[in-house]
Symmetry: C2
Subunit: 316 residues, 2 copies
Amino acid sequence: MPPSGSLQARFLEGDRRALARLITEVENGTEAGRAALRALYRRAGRARTIGITGPPGAGKSTLTNQFAKALRARGQTVGIIAVDPSSPYTQGAILGDRVRMQELSSDPEIFMRSLASRGALGGLSAATLDVIAVLDAFGKDTILIETVGAGQDEVEIAGAAQTTVLVNTPGSGDDIQAMKAGIMEIADVLAVNKADLPGADLLVSQLRALLSLLPDRAWTPPIVKLIATEEVGIDDLVTACDDHWEFLASSGRLREQREERARHQILTLARSQLLAGLMDDEGGGGRLDHLTRAVADGELDPHTAAREWIDQEALA
Amino acid sequence: MPPSGSLQARFLEGDRRALARLITEVENGTEAGRAALRALYRRAGRARTIGITGPPGAGKSTLTNQFAKALRARGQTVGIIAVDPSSPYTQGAILGDRVRMQELSSDPEIFMRSLASRGALGGLSAATLDVIAVLDAFGKDTILIETVGAGQDEVEIAGAAQTTVLVNTPGSGDDIQAMKAGIMEIADVLAVNKADLPGADLLVSQLRALLSLLPDRAWTPPIVKLIATEEVGIDDLVTACDDHWEFLASSGRLREQREERARHQILTLARSQLLAGLMDDEGGGGRLDHLTRAVADGELDPHTAAREWIDQEALA
């Protein structure tokens, strides 16, 4: 048992401020954060995770908020992680948090947090999985992972959830249509938001056509029409996600997913740790400077330089 | 000298098919590709690289094509790399290539190639830098790196160029506006495309306002209005990029950039090589399976599992 009054103890008592603080520690990769993850990891593994992705302007934030409220109406506790890899350079995530939290703040059982990128070596995807584990260990029944952009990062992060909802809107541009084709394969549920706009039925038939091009799978993604701003269709979305959850549990896919994610996480973290080890070695920095100049001068290609650096460190 | 008739020899003679083949070898990380990079790297370092990024629908492809034609009119040879991290699951990049190449095919001095993601461990960013080096060694004067999406990956890839052009259009949605704020800081030139649409002047003043919020820098990004589909304003864009190049060269920033990029590349490649080394070790796979199950069962957190795996391999 953690000492009474400690951060972990308050976390286990359900203190929201302790939860917020622990997420910050985990996100920043501090020793306290690592220790908490080690201690709390056994308590995780019970929550459902649902990823929500789609192009900018599809109304993902509104949809996520409504989704959370619908889950609360069913008696579930909810965590929301809004991941924004597209604004690594500003504090936009924090501003967004405030607006979102005002909207949701009437309900203490919805906990919302934004994550923005922490530079190349940290890895936003790794941080997101850690924060999921913390919310899970805190006892949240369902965790919604909303991504703000539409690139590969966002798709990967949302796709790490057990169920992935791809949000589309009628009348998106050609580029966005092309993107949809690319990410259709990871969608478990297809949401057509702003379904009162012209072209909604056309979009539904386009999505059906795209689905028919994919290889046969045990699960066929349902297409759900909704108007998130008016709370229309949200119940259908919840039902579609419930159906997918039943499929995962009954088919054994849930366990497979869990192992795939665990393996991927170990590989990603091992890579970071190995590199951190190289950087920490005394003298490693100086040797790296030398190789950096050789590459910048065109005397050495970067692959060979990386190999030489590793070999030099192994001998050092 | 490479043996006469070999791939490298034909490459050095300026054979476009040899160039295309070598890019494929490099992209796939084959031994032939690595050997070619080692041999050719000294020939690289002369080309200018210009990244073109911005939200979907901003008209980046059209702008890139017109940019390439304008450079050709100035007697330069041009390489185009279109990077599409957002469609890792389809062959969209290849289809796109065919359409683009038809448009540009009248000019043999424009070489165009699409790159799509190769999964998590390879790294699209690393592949892009390798392909830049190959085009550079081939003798291309300017290499345009166009990114298709708008997430962090795309921004990073385009930002690895010496000059980064951020393309915006009037009347984009709120999400896109938020994104712009995030990536303003890496932009060296701000292009306002579709400048005949309503709201173009508003966008220009918004961009000016955003610029004024950034910390003072030695270079202030110029704002260029253009209509790429009608070839209006392209010359101004070329001039703005030329001005930025002059700034880089005269301020010593060019050399700094080169070293920063080299260091980043060495670190990224070292990380991949270290991990590949772990995976190749006999028995390493089995130990990884064991740890994967422990994490999936919630017995172990993934950070600890990664550490244990590395330690076990070091002893094996």
